[in-house]
Symmetry: C2
Subunit: 278 residues, 2 copies
DNA sequence: CGCCAACTTGAACTTAGTCAAATGTCGTGG
DNA sequence: CCACGACATTTGACTAAGTTCAAGTTGGCG
Protein backbone atom coordinates (compact mmCIF):
# COMPACT_ATOMS: atom_id res chain seq x y z
CA UNK A 1 0.00 0.00 0.00
CA UNK A 2 1.52 3.28 -1.08
CA UNK A 3 0.45 6.73 -0.23
CA UNK A 4 1.53 10.28 -0.95
CA UNK A 5 0.24 13.82 -0.84
CA UNK A 6 0.90 15.63 -4.05
CA UNK A 7 0.24 19.35 -4.20
CA UNK A 8 -2.65 18.94 -1.81
CA UNK A 9 -4.16 15.88 -3.51
CA UNK A 10 -3.99 12.52 -1.77
CA UNK A 11 -2.82 9.68 -4.00
CA UNK A 12 -2.79 6.00 -3.11
CA UNK A 13 -2.07 2.86 -5.04
CA UNK A 14 -1.39 -0.82 -4.52
CA UNK A 15 0.15 -3.50 -6.69
CA UNK A 16 -2.01 -6.41 -5.64
CA UNK A 17 -5.71 -7.00 -5.36
CA UNK A 18 -7.38 -6.24 -2.05
CA UNK A 19 -10.94 -6.35 -0.84
CA UNK A 20 -12.56 -2.92 -1.10
CA UNK A 21 -13.40 -2.79 2.58
CA UNK A 22 -9.87 -3.59 3.62
CA UNK A 23 -8.49 -0.99 1.21
CA UNK A 24 -10.84 1.57 2.66
CA UNK A 25 -9.82 0.72 6.19
CA UNK A 26 -6.14 1.07 5.38
CA UNK A 27 -6.62 4.35 3.60
CA UNK A 28 -8.58 5.80 6.47
CA UNK A 29 -5.91 4.68 8.94
CA UNK A 30 -3.19 6.38 6.89
CA UNK A 31 -5.28 9.49 6.44
CA UNK A 32 -5.76 9.77 10.14
CA UNK A 33 -2.03 9.50 10.75
CA UNK A 34 -1.30 12.14 8.13
CA UNK A 35 -3.94 14.51 9.35
CA UNK A 36 -2.52 14.12 12.80
CA UNK A 37 1.02 14.85 11.65
CA UNK A 38 -0.02 17.87 9.64
CA UNK A 39 -2.19 19.33 12.33
CA UNK A 40 0.44 18.85 14.99
CA UNK A 41 3.28 20.36 13.05
CA UNK A 42 3.25 23.61 11.14
CA UNK A 43 6.56 22.57 9.58
CA UNK A 44 4.93 19.51 8.11
CA UNK A 45 2.13 21.68 6.92
CA UNK A 46 4.50 24.13 5.28
CA UNK A 47 6.54 21.46 3.53
CA UNK A 48 3.42 19.57 2.46
CA UNK A 49 2.11 22.69 0.76
CA UNK A 50 4.96 22.47 -1.72
CA UNK A 51 6.48 19.05 -1.73
CA UNK A 52 5.22 15.49 -1.98
CA UNK A 53 6.03 13.73 1.27
CA UNK A 54 5.57 9.99 1.66
CA UNK A 55 4.22 8.31 4.74
CA UNK A 56 7.73 7.32 5.75
CA UNK A 57 9.07 10.85 5.34
CA UNK A 58 6.23 12.21 7.41
CA UNK A 59 7.11 9.74 10.12
CA UNK A 60 10.78 10.82 10.13
CA UNK A 61 9.64 14.42 10.26
CA UNK A 62 7.41 13.63 13.19
CA UNK A 63 10.27 11.96 15.01
CA UNK A 64 12.24 15.20 14.77
CA UNK A 65 9.50 16.81 16.82
CA UNK A 66 10.19 14.84 19.97
CA UNK A 67 12.07 16.64 22.72
CA UNK A 68 9.61 19.48 22.91
CA UNK A 69 10.50 22.45 25.11
CA UNK A 70 8.89 25.71 26.21
CA UNK A 71 10.48 29.13 26.49
CA UNK A 72 9.12 32.32 28.00
CA UNK A 73 8.76 35.55 26.05
CA UNK A 74 11.67 37.94 26.16
CA UNK A 75 14.38 35.68 27.50
CA UNK A 76 16.95 34.91 24.80
CA UNK A 77 16.86 31.38 23.51
CA UNK A 78 20.29 31.63 21.93
CA UNK A 79 22.79 34.36 22.52
CA UNK A 80 25.11 35.98 19.99
CA UNK A 81 28.56 34.40 20.23
CA UNK A 82 27.31 31.39 22.13
CA UNK A 83 28.70 28.09 20.95
CA UNK A 84 25.77 25.74 20.69
CA UNK A 85 24.96 22.82 18.48
CA UNK A 86 21.19 22.47 18.64
CA UNK A 87 18.62 23.91 16.28
CA UNK A 88 14.90 24.17 16.97
CA UNK A 89 11.70 23.78 15.03
CA UNK A 90 9.22 26.37 16.18
CA UNK A 91 5.91 24.70 16.98
CA UNK A 92 3.90 27.55 18.48
CA UNK A 93 4.46 31.24 19.06
CA UNK A 94 6.67 33.87 17.43
CA UNK A 95 10.39 34.51 17.73
CA UNK A 96 12.91 36.82 16.11
CA UNK A 97 16.59 36.56 15.30
CA UNK A 98 18.61 39.72 15.72
CA UNK A 99 22.07 41.16 16.12
CA UNK A 100 23.00 43.83 18.60
CA UNK A 101 25.70 46.37 17.82
CA UNK A 102 28.35 47.46 20.30
CA UNK A 103 26.53 50.81 20.54
CA UNK A 104 23.41 49.05 21.79
CA UNK A 105 21.15 49.44 18.77
CA UNK A 106 19.72 46.22 17.43
CA UNK A 107 18.69 44.97 14.03
CA UNK A 108 16.12 42.23 13.71
CA UNK A 109 17.11 40.01 10.81
CA UNK A 110 14.05 37.83 10.58
CA UNK A 111 10.95 36.76 12.41
CA UNK A 112 10.12 33.12 12.87
CA UNK A 113 6.59 31.80 12.94
CA UNK A 114 5.35 28.25 13.57
CA UNK A 115 6.96 25.82 11.16
CA UNK A 116 10.21 27.77 10.85
CA UNK A 117 13.64 26.58 11.89
CA UNK A 118 15.61 28.47 14.54
CA UNK A 119 19.38 28.54 14.36
CA UNK A 120 19.89 26.13 11.50
CA UNK A 121 22.95 28.06 10.34
CA UNK A 122 24.45 28.13 13.82
CA UNK A 123 24.69 24.36 13.73
CA UNK A 124 26.93 24.45 10.67
CA UNK A 125 29.06 27.34 11.86
CA UNK A 126 29.33 25.76 15.33
CA UNK A 127 28.67 29.18 16.74
CA UNK A 128 25.72 31.47 16.79
CA UNK A 129 26.36 34.78 15.05
CA UNK A 130 23.04 36.17 16.24
CA UNK A 131 20.63 36.04 19.15
CA UNK A 132 17.14 34.59 19.15
CA UNK A 133 14.37 35.99 21.31
CA UNK A 134 10.90 34.54 21.81
CA UNK A 135 8.39 37.35 21.24
CA UNK A 136 5.66 35.49 23.08
CA UNK A 137 5.87 32.29 25.07
CA UNK A 138 6.85 29.61 22.59
CA UNK A 139 6.97 25.87 22.11
CA UNK A 140 9.87 24.49 20.12
CA UNK A 141 11.26 21.07 19.34
CA UNK A 142 14.98 20.78 19.92
CA UNK A 143 16.79 19.09 17.06
CA UNK A 144 20.31 17.84 17.70
CA UNK A 145 22.79 18.12 14.86
CA UNK A 146 23.17 14.35 14.84
CA UNK A 147 19.44 13.63 14.55
CA UNK A 148 19.12 16.06 11.70
CA UNK A 149 22.02 14.56 9.77
CA UNK A 150 20.65 11.11 10.46
CA UNK A 151 17.26 12.07 9.08
CA UNK A 152 18.98 13.56 6.03
CA UNK A 153 20.87 10.34 5.40
CA UNK A 154 17.78 8.14 5.66
CA UNK A 155 15.41 10.34 3.67
CA UNK A 156 17.25 12.38 1.05
CA UNK A 157 14.01 13.81 -0.32
CA UNK A 158 13.25 15.22 3.09
CA UNK A 159 16.77 16.63 3.20
CA UNK A 160 16.16 18.38 -0.08
CA UNK A 161 12.84 19.70 1.18
CA UNK A 162 14.42 21.15 4.30
CA UNK A 163 17.33 22.64 2.36
CA UNK A 164 14.75 24.13 0.03
CA UNK A 165 12.95 25.70 3.00
CA UNK A 166 16.28 27.06 4.23
CA UNK A 167 16.95 28.57 0.81
CA UNK A 168 13.56 30.17 0.88
CA UNK A 169 14.36 31.71 4.25
CA UNK A 170 17.59 33.04 2.83
CA UNK A 171 15.68 34.54 -0.09
CA UNK A 172 13.52 36.36 2.44
CA UNK A 173 16.56 37.75 4.19
CA UNK A 174 17.79 39.00 0.82
CA UNK A 175 14.44 40.63 0.15
CA UNK A 176 14.62 42.24 3.57
CA UNK A 177 18.07 43.56 2.70
CA UNK A 178 16.76 45.06 -0.52
CA UNK A 179 14.00 46.73 1.47
CA UNK A 180 16.46 48.34 3.86
CA UNK A 181 18.67 49.53 1.04
CA UNK A 182 16.19 50.69 -1.55
CA UNK A 183 12.72 51.28 -0.14
CA UNK A 184 11.48 54.25 1.83
CA UNK A 185 9.75 53.82 5.17
CA UNK A 186 6.19 53.50 3.78
CA UNK A 187 7.09 50.93 1.17
CA UNK A 188 9.21 49.04 3.64
CA UNK A 189 6.38 48.79 6.13
CA UNK A 190 3.84 47.81 3.50
CA UNK A 191 6.14 45.17 2.08
CA UNK A 192 6.92 43.79 5.49
CA UNK A 193 3.30 43.44 6.54
CA UNK A 194 2.40 41.80 3.24
CA UNK A 195 5.26 39.33 3.38
CA UNK A 196 4.42 38.36 6.93
CA UNK A 197 0.80 37.83 5.87
CA UNK A 198 1.86 35.58 3.01
CA UNK A 199 4.05 33.51 5.30
CA UNK A 200 1.31 33.16 7.89
CA UNK A 201 -1.20 32.16 5.26
CA UNK A 202 1.06 29.22 4.40
CA UNK A 203 0.63 27.77 7.88
CA UNK A 204 -3.05 28.69 8.09
CA UNK A 205 -2.61 31.65 10.41
CA UNK A 206 -3.59 34.47 8.07
CA UNK A 207 -5.42 35.52 4.94
CA UNK A 208 -5.74 38.46 2.57
CA UNK A 209 -8.00 40.01 5.16
CA UNK A 210 -5.38 40.18 7.88
CA UNK A 211 -3.82 38.26 10.73
CA UNK A 212 -3.08 38.29 14.45
CA UNK A 213 0.32 39.80 15.15
CA UNK A 214 1.95 40.04 18.59
CA UNK A 215 4.71 42.45 17.47
CA UNK A 216 5.16 45.85 19.09
CA UNK A 217 6.05 48.98 17.15
CA UNK A 218 9.55 48.59 18.62
CA UNK A 219 9.87 45.24 16.92
CA UNK A 220 8.85 46.82 13.64
CA UNK A 221 11.36 49.63 14.17
CA UNK A 222 14.21 47.22 14.89
CA UNK A 223 13.33 45.10 11.89
CA UNK A 224 12.83 47.92 9.41
CA UNK A 225 15.81 50.03 10.46
CA UNK A 226 13.59 52.91 11.58
CA UNK A 227 12.99 54.69 14.87
CA UNK A 228 9.94 53.67 16.84
CA UNK A 229 8.61 57.20 16.49
CA UNK A 230 8.77 57.03 12.74
CA UNK A 231 7.17 53.61 12.68
CA UNK A 232 4.24 55.11 14.48
CA UNK A 233 3.90 57.91 11.93
CA UNK A 234 4.13 55.50 9.03
CA UNK A 235 1.46 53.28 10.54
CA UNK A 236 -0.79 56.27 11.01
CA UNK A 237 -0.35 57.30 7.41
CA UNK A 238 -1.10 53.82 6.10
CA UNK A 239 -4.16 53.66 8.34
CA UNK A 240 -5.43 57.08 7.26
CA UNK A 241 -4.90 56.14 3.62
CA UNK A 242 -7.12 53.10 4.25
CA UNK A 243 -4.42 50.66 3.20
CA UNK A 244 -3.69 48.64 6.31
CA UNK A 245 -4.43 48.89 10.03
CA UNK A 246 -2.00 47.73 12.69
CA UNK A 247 -3.72 47.88 16.04
CA UNK A 248 -4.26 45.85 19.20
CA UNK A 249 -2.18 42.93 18.04
CA UNK A 250 -4.00 42.62 14.76
CA UNK A 251 -3.12 43.53 11.19
CA UNK A 252 -6.07 44.27 8.92
CA UNK A 253 -5.63 44.75 5.21
CA UNK A 254 -8.07 47.51 4.32
CA UNK A 255 -7.12 47.50 0.66
CA UNK A 256 -4.90 44.57 -0.23
CA UNK A 257 -4.42 45.44 -3.89
CA UNK A 258 -3.43 49.04 -3.38
CA UNK A 259 -1.07 47.96 -0.63
CA UNK A 260 0.56 45.44 -2.96
CA UNK A 261 0.97 48.21 -5.52
CA UNK A 262 2.53 50.59 -2.99
CA UNK A 263 4.97 47.98 -1.72
CA UNK A 264 5.65 46.63 -5.20
CA UNK A 265 5.17 43.30 -3.49
CA UNK A 266 5.95 40.30 -5.63
CA UNK A 267 5.37 37.07 -3.76
CA UNK A 268 7.19 35.00 -6.38
CA UNK A 269 9.99 34.15 -4.01
CA UNK A 270 7.53 32.71 -1.52
CA UNK A 271 5.20 30.98 -3.93
CA UNK A 272 7.66 28.75 -5.66
CA UNK A 273 6.93 25.17 -5.94
CA UNK A 274 9.41 22.92 -4.21
CA UNK A 275 12.28 21.10 -5.79
CA UNK A 276 10.92 17.58 -5.55
CA UNK A 277 7.86 17.70 -7.74
CA UNK A 278 9.78 17.49 -10.94
CA UNK B 1 50.44 6.73 2.09
CA UNK B 2 48.15 9.30 3.63
CA UNK B 3 48.28 13.01 3.32
CA UNK B 4 46.33 16.01 4.54
CA UNK B 5 46.65 19.72 5.00
CA UNK B 6 45.62 20.77 8.46
CA UNK B 7 45.25 24.47 9.19
CA UNK B 8 48.09 25.22 6.83
CA UNK B 9 50.42 22.44 8.06
CA UNK B 10 51.09 19.47 5.83
CA UNK B 11 50.77 16.10 7.57
CA UNK B 12 51.66 12.72 6.13
CA UNK B 13 51.83 9.23 7.55
CA UNK B 14 52.09 5.63 6.44
CA UNK B 15 51.32 2.36 8.13
CA UNK B 16 54.15 0.30 6.69
CA UNK B 17 57.87 0.76 6.41
CA UNK B 18 59.20 2.41 3.31
CA UNK B 19 62.66 3.40 2.17
CA UNK B 20 63.33 7.07 2.94
CA UNK B 21 64.02 7.94 -0.68
CA UNK B 22 60.77 6.40 -1.86
CA UNK B 23 58.84 8.14 0.90
CA UNK B 24 60.41 11.41 -0.13
CA UNK B 25 59.54 10.87 -3.75
CA UNK B 26 55.92 10.10 -2.94
CA UNK B 27 55.57 13.11 -0.69
CA UNK B 28 57.01 15.42 -3.29
CA UNK B 29 54.64 14.02 -5.93
CA UNK B 30 51.64 14.61 -3.71
CA UNK B 31 52.85 18.06 -2.76
CA UNK B 32 53.14 19.01 -6.39
CA UNK B 33 49.58 17.86 -7.06
CA UNK B 34 48.26 19.77 -4.08
CA UNK B 35 50.17 22.90 -4.87
CA UNK B 36 48.79 22.70 -8.35
CA UNK B 37 45.21 22.29 -7.13
CA UNK B 38 45.49 25.11 -4.64
CA UNK B 39 47.13 27.49 -7.05
CA UNK B 40 44.60 26.74 -9.73
CA UNK B 41 41.57 27.12 -7.55
CA UNK B 42 40.84 29.90 -5.10
CA UNK B 43 37.95 27.81 -3.79
CA UNK B 44 40.35 25.06 -2.82
CA UNK B 45 42.54 27.66 -1.23
CA UNK B 46 39.66 29.10 0.76
CA UNK B 47 38.43 25.76 2.00
CA UNK B 48 41.96 24.58 2.80
CA UNK B 49 42.48 27.59 5.02
CA UNK B 50 39.84 26.25 7.38
CA UNK B 51 39.27 22.60 6.80
CA UNK B 52 41.42 19.51 6.44
CA UNK B 53 40.95 18.16 2.92
CA UNK B 54 42.33 14.79 1.95
CA UNK B 55 43.99 14.06 -1.36
CA UNK B 56 40.83 12.37 -2.58
CA UNK B 57 38.63 15.30 -1.63
CA UNK B 58 40.96 17.69 -3.37
CA UNK B 59 40.70 15.54 -6.48
CA UNK B 60 36.89 15.64 -6.39
CA UNK B 61 37.04 19.37 -5.90
CA UNK B 62 39.34 19.68 -8.87
CA UNK B 63 36.95 17.67 -10.99
CA UNK B 64 34.21 20.21 -10.24
CA UNK B 65 36.40 22.79 -11.94
CA UNK B 66 36.18 21.26 -15.41
CA UNK B 67 33.82 22.96 -17.83
CA UNK B 68 35.47 26.32 -17.51
CA UNK B 69 33.81 29.29 -19.19
CA UNK B 70 34.51 33.01 -19.68
CA UNK B 71 32.09 35.91 -19.42
CA UNK B 72 32.59 39.54 -20.33
CA UNK B 73 32.15 42.38 -17.88
CA UNK B 74 28.73 43.94 -17.64
CA UNK B 75 26.65 41.33 -19.40
CA UNK B 76 24.42 39.50 -16.92
CA UNK B 77 25.44 35.94 -16.23
CA UNK B 78 22.10 35.04 -14.70
CA UNK B 79 18.97 37.10 -14.89
CA UNK B 80 16.36 37.63 -12.18
CA UNK B 81 13.44 35.27 -12.73
CA UNK B 82 15.38 33.05 -15.07
CA UNK B 83 14.88 29.36 -14.51
CA UNK B 84 18.33 27.82 -14.56
CA UNK B 85 19.89 24.84 -12.88
CA UNK B 86 23.63 25.50 -13.01
CA UNK B 87 25.79 27.14 -10.41
CA UNK B 88 29.31 28.45 -10.95
CA UNK B 89 32.55 28.57 -9.05
CA UNK B 90 34.25 31.87 -9.71
CA UNK B 91 37.87 31.25 -10.70
CA UNK B 92 39.06 34.71 -11.67
CA UNK B 93 37.56 38.19 -11.63
CA UNK B 94 34.81 39.85 -9.63
CA UNK B 95 31.04 39.58 -9.89
CA UNK B 96 28.06 40.87 -7.95
CA UNK B 97 24.58 39.55 -7.26
CA UNK B 98 21.82 42.12 -7.19
CA UNK B 99 18.09 42.67 -7.41
CA UNK B 100 16.45 45.40 -9.42
CA UNK B 101 13.21 47.00 -8.30
CA UNK B 102 10.34 47.79 -10.60
CA UNK B 103 11.22 51.49 -10.25
CA UNK B 104 14.67 50.81 -11.71
CA UNK B 105 16.82 51.22 -8.62
CA UNK B 106 19.04 48.32 -7.79
CA UNK B 107 20.43 46.81 -4.64
CA UNK B 108 23.63 44.80 -4.74
CA UNK B 109 23.30 41.95 -2.27
CA UNK B 110 26.82 40.60 -2.35
CA UNK B 111 30.05 40.68 -4.27
CA UNK B 112 31.77 37.51 -5.33
CA UNK B 113 35.52 37.15 -5.54
CA UNK B 114 37.58 34.20 -6.73
CA UNK B 115 36.71 31.07 -4.80
CA UNK B 116 33.09 32.05 -4.24
CA UNK B 117 30.05 30.23 -5.55
CA UNK B 118 27.60 31.96 -7.86
CA UNK B 119 23.94 31.05 -7.76
CA UNK B 120 24.13 28.14 -5.35
CA UNK B 121 20.72 29.01 -3.94
CA UNK B 122 19.17 29.27 -7.39
CA UNK B 123 19.89 25.59 -7.93
CA UNK B 124 17.76 24.60 -4.96
CA UNK B 125 14.93 27.01 -5.70
CA UNK B 126 15.00 26.01 -9.39
CA UNK B 127 14.74 29.69 -10.18
CA UNK B 128 17.02 32.64 -9.77
CA UNK B 129 15.61 35.33 -7.50
CA UNK B 130 18.43 37.71 -8.39
CA UNK B 131 20.72 38.68 -11.23
CA UNK B 132 24.46 38.19 -11.42
CA UNK B 133 26.72 40.59 -13.24
CA UNK B 134 30.43 40.17 -13.91
CA UNK B 135 32.16 43.39 -12.83
CA UNK B 136 35.23 42.62 -14.90
CA UNK B 137 35.80 39.84 -17.40
CA UNK B 138 35.58 36.64 -15.42
CA UNK B 139 36.41 32.95 -15.59
CA UNK B 140 34.02 30.57 -13.91
CA UNK B 141 33.57 26.81 -13.74
CA UNK B 142 30.02 25.69 -14.45
CA UNK B 143 28.78 23.14 -11.94
CA UNK B 144 25.69 21.15 -12.84
CA UNK B 145 23.30 20.32 -10.03
CA UNK B 146 23.88 16.63 -10.66
CA UNK B 147 27.68 16.85 -10.43
CA UNK B 148 27.43 18.76 -7.20
CA UNK B 149 25.06 16.27 -5.62
CA UNK B 150 27.26 13.44 -6.85
CA UNK B 151 30.32 14.99 -5.26
CA UNK B 152 28.35 15.47 -2.05
CA UNK B 153 27.36 11.82 -1.98
CA UNK B 154 30.91 10.56 -2.56
CA UNK B 155 32.69 12.93 -0.18
CA UNK B 156 30.45 13.96 2.72
CA UNK B 157 33.26 15.91 4.36
CA UNK B 158 33.55 18.02 1.25
CA UNK B 159 29.77 18.49 1.30
CA UNK B 160 29.98 19.76 4.85
CA UNK B 161 32.84 22.07 3.89
CA UNK B 162 30.86 23.58 1.02
CA UNK B 163 27.72 23.93 3.12
CA UNK B 164 29.88 25.61 5.70
CA UNK B 165 31.16 28.06 3.09
CA UNK B 166 27.56 28.73 2.05
CA UNK B 167 26.60 29.40 5.66
CA UNK B 168 29.48 31.80 5.93
CA UNK B 169 28.23 33.64 2.84
CA UNK B 170 24.80 33.85 4.41
CA UNK B 171 26.33 35.26 7.57
CA UNK B 172 27.90 37.96 5.42
CA UNK B 173 24.57 38.82 3.87
CA UNK B 174 23.13 39.13 7.38
CA UNK B 175 25.98 41.41 8.39
CA UNK B 176 25.30 43.47 5.28
CA UNK B 177 21.65 43.72 6.29
CA UNK B 178 22.62 44.93 9.75
CA UNK B 179 24.83 47.55 8.14
CA UNK B 180 21.99 48.88 6.01
CA UNK B 181 19.61 48.97 8.95
CA UNK B 182 21.76 50.28 11.75
CA UNK B 183 24.94 51.94 10.54
CA UNK B 184 25.36 55.42 9.11
CA UNK B 185 27.07 56.00 5.79
CA UNK B 186 30.62 56.35 7.15
CA UNK B 187 30.46 53.25 9.28
CA UNK B 188 28.83 51.33 6.48
CA UNK B 189 31.57 52.22 4.03
CA UNK B 190 34.33 51.49 6.52
CA UNK B 191 32.81 48.16 7.43
CA UNK B 192 32.32 47.21 3.82
CA UNK B 193 35.89 47.98 2.80
CA UNK B 194 37.25 46.09 5.78
CA UNK B 195 35.11 43.04 5.18
CA UNK B 196 36.09 42.94 1.54
CA UNK B 197 39.73 43.18 2.56
CA UNK B 198 39.36 40.29 4.98
CA UNK B 199 37.71 38.14 2.32
CA UNK B 200 40.38 38.94 -0.23
CA UNK B 201 43.14 38.18 2.25
CA UNK B 202 41.71 34.66 2.56
CA UNK B 203 42.41 33.98 -1.11
CA UNK B 204 45.72 35.80 -1.08
CA UNK B 205 44.50 38.91 -2.88
CA UNK B 206 44.79 41.45 -0.09
CA UNK B 207 46.38 42.38 3.23
CA UNK B 208 46.01 44.86 6.07
CA UNK B 209 47.77 47.33 3.79
CA UNK B 210 45.09 47.29 1.11
CA UNK B 211 43.99 45.56 -2.07
CA UNK B 212 43.19 46.01 -5.75
CA UNK B 213 39.50 46.72 -6.26
CA UNK B 214 37.76 47.13 -9.63
CA UNK B 215 34.53 48.51 -8.20
CA UNK B 216 33.19 51.91 -9.23
CA UNK B 217 31.58 54.33 -6.82
CA UNK B 218 28.27 53.35 -8.40
CA UNK B 219 28.83 49.78 -7.30
CA UNK B 220 29.49 50.99 -3.77
CA UNK B 221 26.36 53.12 -3.86
CA UNK B 222 24.19 50.22 -5.03
CA UNK B 223 25.64 47.92 -2.39
CA UNK B 224 25.48 50.32 0.53
CA UNK B 225 22.05 51.74 -0.20
CA UNK B 226 23.43 55.24 -0.79
CA UNK B 227 23.46 57.64 -3.72
CA UNK B 228 26.62 57.76 -5.79
CA UNK B 229 27.03 61.41 -4.83
CA UNK B 230 27.03 60.60 -1.17
CA UNK B 231 29.45 57.72 -1.65
CA UNK B 232 31.84 60.20 -3.16
CA UNK B 233 31.54 62.52 -0.18
CA UNK B 234 32.00 59.70 2.32
CA UNK B 235 35.10 58.49 0.50
CA UNK B 236 36.51 61.99 0.55
CA UNK B 237 35.92 62.27 4.27
CA UNK B 238 37.56 58.93 5.03
CA UNK B 239 40.51 59.90 2.85
CA UNK B 240 40.88 63.30 4.50
CA UNK B 241 40.70 61.67 7.92
CA UNK B 242 43.60 59.44 6.84
CA UNK B 243 41.62 56.26 7.44
CA UNK B 244 41.36 54.66 4.02
CA UNK B 245 41.93 55.70 0.41
CA UNK B 246 39.80 54.42 -2.46
CA UNK B 247 41.34 55.58 -5.71
CA UNK B 248 42.33 54.30 -9.13
CA UNK B 249 41.05 50.80 -8.51
CA UNK B 250 42.99 50.42 -5.31
CA UNK B 251 41.99 50.46 -1.66
CA UNK B 252 44.71 51.52 0.77
CA UNK B 253 44.24 51.26 4.51
CA UNK B 254 45.92 54.36 5.89
CA UNK B 255 45.10 53.50 9.48
CA UNK B 256 43.71 50.00 9.83
CA UNK B 257 43.12 50.09 13.56
CA UNK B 258 41.23 53.36 13.65
CA UNK B 259 39.15 52.19 10.71
CA UNK B 260 38.27 48.99 12.55
CA UNK B 261 37.24 51.10 15.54
CA UNK B 262 35.07 53.39 13.41
CA UNK B 263 33.34 50.50 11.68
CA UNK B 264 33.12 48.43 14.87
CA UNK B 265 34.37 45.69 12.63
CA UNK B 266 34.43 42.28 14.22
CA UNK B 267 35.75 39.66 11.83
CA UNK B 268 34.58 36.79 14.03
CA UNK B 269 32.04 35.67 11.50
CA UNK B 270 34.71 35.35 8.84
CA UNK B 271 37.48 33.89 10.96
CA UNK B 272 35.71 30.86 12.27
CA UNK B 273 37.32 27.57 11.98
CA UNK B 274 35.47 25.14 9.80
CA UNK B 275 33.15 22.41 10.95
CA UNK B 276 35.38 19.44 10.22
CA UNK B 277 38.37 20.08 12.45
CA UNK B 278 36.60 19.04 15.57
C1' DC C 1 40.51 65.46 -31.08
C1' DG C 2 36.30 64.37 -29.10
C1' DC C 3 33.60 61.31 -26.58
C1' DC C 4 32.21 58.73 -22.70
C1' DA C 5 32.20 57.02 -18.23
C1' DA C 6 33.67 57.85 -13.80
C1' DC C 7 34.39 61.13 -10.52
C1' DT C 8 33.78 65.69 -7.96
C1' DT C 9 31.54 69.67 -5.91
C1' DG C 10 27.83 73.03 -4.45
C1' DA C 11 23.04 74.27 -3.23
C1' DA C 12 18.32 73.24 -2.29
C1' DC C 13 15.41 69.89 -0.65
C1' DT C 14 13.34 65.58 1.76
C1' DT C 15 13.30 61.99 4.79
C1' DA C 16 13.77 60.20 8.93
C1' DG C 17 15.95 60.77 13.61
C1' DT C 18 16.02 62.99 18.24
C1' DC C 19 14.06 65.01 22.12
C1' DA C 20 10.26 65.86 24.90
C1' DA C 21 5.84 65.28 26.58
C1' DA C 22 1.13 63.42 26.74
C1' DT C 23 -2.10 59.51 26.38
C1' DG C 24 -3.64 54.90 26.89
C1' DT C 25 -3.63 50.17 28.91
C1' DC C 26 -2.82 46.53 31.84
C1' DG C 27 -1.69 44.07 35.98
C1' DT C 28 -0.32 44.48 40.99
C1' DG C 29 -0.90 45.51 45.59
C1' DG C 30 -3.11 48.27 49.09
C1' DC D 1 -12.09 50.16 44.20
C1' DC D 2 -8.13 53.10 43.23
C1' DA D 3 -3.19 54.32 42.99
C1' DC D 4 0.84 53.11 40.91
C1' DG D 5 4.34 51.72 37.79
C1' DA D 6 5.74 49.62 33.54
C1' DC D 7 5.22 49.66 28.96
C1' DA D 8 3.28 50.78 24.36
C1' DT D 9 1.53 54.30 21.63
C1' DT D 10 0.83 59.02 19.91
C1' DT D 11 2.00 63.76 18.65
C1' DG D 12 4.75 68.13 17.95
C1' DA D 13 8.99 70.81 17.19
C1' DC D 14 13.49 70.75 15.83
C1' DT D 15 17.73 68.69 13.68
C1' DA D 16 20.77 65.92 11.02
C1' DA D 17 21.73 62.74 7.40
C1' DG D 18 21.38 61.76 2.88
C1' DT D 19 19.07 62.75 -1.84
C1' DT D 20 18.40 65.26 -5.97
C1' DC D 21 19.59 68.41 -9.37
C1' DA D 22 22.91 70.69 -11.83
C1' DA D 23 27.27 71.76 -13.34
C1' DG D 24 31.78 70.83 -13.79
C1' DT D 25 36.46 67.90 -14.03
C1' DT D 26 39.33 64.09 -15.19
C1' DG D 27 41.29 60.37 -17.75
C1' DG D 28 41.29 56.70 -21.10
C1' DC D 29 40.50 55.37 -25.71
C1' DG D 30 38.92 55.03 -30.66
Amino acid sequence: MNFAILAGIAVCWTDRKQSPSRLLREVSKILEKLLNAIQNSPLTRKLSAFVALSENELAVLERLHKRRRSFVAGRDLVHQGQSKQAAYILAAGWACSYKTQPDGSRQIVDFQIPGDFLGLRSVLLHMSDHSIEPIVDIQAAEVLAGDLLGAFARTPRLATAILWAASRDEAMVVEHLVGLGRRDADERMAHFLLELGARLALVGMGSKGGYACPLTQYHLADALGLSAVHVNRVLRKLREDKLVTFRDGHVTFDNYDRLVALAQFDPTYLDHIGPILK
